[in-house]
Subunit: 414 residues, 2 copies
């Protein structure tokens, strides 16, 4: 995955620990019987953080989601730490809330912080009881081992069917101060474009009010994670949190001026890159798909069309088969929930190997099958849909649908 460059922003290492004052750690505490795989992660800030979050819209909500919402309501949107486990979602369990609260309590006690400043999260199998014992055994040593380098262990702890770690961080300047924003994400299947769509923890040393932090997150999530689809399923445990501890030393951003724009762009760069990583690592994916919808009359139309294309099972299968079945693109554009004139639509498919036009003004146009095969043989396929009825554009990301997706999800619990 190539990282697009943005003027004024430099990519840096360090993920969730790239920003000043953040430490992290990860370990296997025994939830995952495979001792080589981390199943418990922690992130901690040396100073309290203004915190924004978005959560899944599924009616079935993991117990950790409920507890985190309560915590942030009680603390007035201030947090200090994240505790997260994989392999078990702690969802649909009769004692789920008690377990999530006990995990928070252990974390708070070990770090010497108020319990309501703990963000707790879980990912994995739904409907299996989560024992507290592995947390009791693991959290003390997890806390002791917190370090700037610990991001590399923490990111491993949130992986489920993910095949690669997903971390991005950028540096930029605000009022002459060097600021950093970084994060880690997990997600591979059960990723749907109608909410947070993944577990994702973002940290920054910028000083920004809780209100503007939440506004920036809501804006950016709409054009990044919410434009990602791996399958049509909306998870029960999705959450994106952004913690900002203010240690960069800038004056607190409290209104929508230039500083806010600079910060929001940093958040966009990090979240957009993680969105692309999530798409490329979709369960069983062999190809990354990016659809850009141009020429829309408004953002909602552009997003709806772009998502519809990358969300179509039939188109995803065609891309897996490297089959230039352009009717699948037109069909998916046609059922996008938006209002536009289909008879103006142009479609182009593109990759490193070249490009070809598949459709003009709503009608199929002849193309060279040889050229199309060359384009579609690449790992990253870009679909450009030009509605030709406005000047707004949006992107959506996804991946192909493969035998391996079926295989992974035919036997997910084992």
């Amino acid at each position: 995955m190539t990282m697009e460059e943005f003027e004024g922003y430099a990519y840096v290492e360090g993920g969730v620990c790239a920003a000043r004052g953040f430490v992290a750690n990860g370990m296997n505490c025994g939830i995952n019987p495979d001792k080589d795989k981390n199943d418990l992660g922690m992130v901690c800030s040396e100073a309290p953080c203004n915190t924004a979050a978005v959560y899944t819209q599924n009616k079935v909500q993991g117990a950790p989601i409920t507890v985190t919402k309560e915590h942030l309501a009680k603390s007035g949107g201030v947090s200090r730490a994240v505790i997260v486990n994989s392999k078990n979602a702690n969802t649909c369990n009769v004692d789920g809330i008690q377990v999530a609260e006990a995990v928070s309590e252990l974390t708070a006690k070990e770090l010497g912080i108020p319990e309501e400043q703990v963000i707790v999260a879980s990912t994995g199998v739904i409907g299996e009881r989560l024992a507290i014992e592995p947390f009791q055994a693991g959290i003390p040593s997890l806390a002791k081992g917190l370090s700037r380098e610990g991001h590399a262990e923490a990111v491993k702890a949130i992986m489920t069917t993910d095949t690669v770690e997903k971390e991005v961080a950028v540096q930029f300047t605000l009022q002459g101060k060097t600021c950093t924003l970084g994060g880690m994400a997990k997600g591979s299947g059960m990723i749907h474009p109608n909410m947070a769509t993944t577990l994702n923890f973002i940290t920054s040393d910028v000083a920004i009010s809780s209100e503007l932090l939440q506004r920036a997150l809501d804006d950016v999530v709409k054009v990044t994670y919410n434009c990602l689809t791996v399958d049509g399923d909306t998870s029960t445990n999705d959450m994106v949190s952004v913690m900002a501890n203010g240690l960069a030393g800038n004056g607190e951003i409290a209104e929508e001026g230039m500083d806010y724009q600079t910060f929001r762009q940093a958040l966009y760069i990090v979240m957009m890159n993680m969105t692309k990583m999530l798409a490329a690592d979709g369960e069983g994916a062999s190809k990354f798909l990016e659809c850009t919808c141009l020429g829309a009359k408004d953002l909602d139309t552009a997003i709806a069309v772009a998502k519809s294309v990358v969300g179509s099972d039939l188109f995803k299968c065609a891309m897996f088969g490297e089959d230039a079945n352009c009717g699948r693109v037109m069909c998916a554009i046609g059922y996008a929930p938006a209002d536009f004139d289909i008879m103006k639509v142009n479609v182009m498919l593109e990759s490193k190997a070249g490009s070809f036009t598949a459709c003009e003004n709503g009608m199929a146009v002849p193309f060279s099958e040889e050229e199309a095969a060359r384009v579609l043989a690449e790992d990253e396929i870009y679909i450009q849909v030009d509605l030709q009825q406005g000047d707004v554009s949006a992107k959506a990301w996804g991946c192909d649908l493969t035998y391996d997706y079926v295989k992974i999800n035919g036997d997910y619990r084992s």
Copy 2:
């Protein structure tokens, strides 16, 4: 697939020719290079038929859809014949309308009927030009060969990735007269629950007004084809038409009394059975899935929940893998677009081999993995979701997601 019995209705042979006065035929006219496969079908009534139809809601509409709508508008909802080809959808083609009109004209001329009484339909690849020559060559002999037995050839002509013919017909009594209603359907992939979802031609000898015929079709389609999902894709060429020629000799049904109810139930039995056949023959399907949602406060809620379960890729994969991952069911119920209390929901999975409860009051309950494996090893799996917050129920149908689905759609055009 077992056919449920309904008092007062008897299943009969004959499909689209079961009703009095209908003849049909099918042939290979050269659109499909495989000469063993029929690609052109015709149905004809000896008397004019009141006709109702529903069409795809995709913005991209096959040229035959446009032409059929124009015909029925012009004829005042009266038709005499259906002409339908497979292998090419005649969609997104610059000359699509002219070709569909030429096909209708050839049919009308050969049968000696007005052109606007022809229903024209196509199914197959989108965006490839459809030549008129095979129709010119085929239609005369197709018309000459029309017969009561021809339904068996006609149904073959509409198959694409279908592996079995889909025909159902029933007999029943209205005012002492024996009446018949039957039909044929195609559909395997690109079947989505928000419209007609398939090509489907239904014929009857009942006398019924156009208005009530359309009302019955709209009612029944909502709880049959619109509750079917094989993938999330809404086709560009879907259509259900019902032709009623009145030759049974009953007095025309012109109001919503007992006779209307009797007719509508016949339509339901035929369409419900074809829906189940379509689900069982979903592309690559190894298992038939039926979800019944009980205890809903209204029909829309029950339909939304039942559809959400059978439409979940993750649940479909779990069923393919015979994995009792009941969290997938809860997750899919949770994101159904409806308003209900998730904490009251019970879930049970059932098959010929037995049943087990997976969830009570929104929480997972322990079950025997051995018993669950026995239940899920069967070919037909029934999921019962009891919302416990009303007395309305609905069913939705689908199939598992398999390697073969991916294979079929990775290379659909060849």
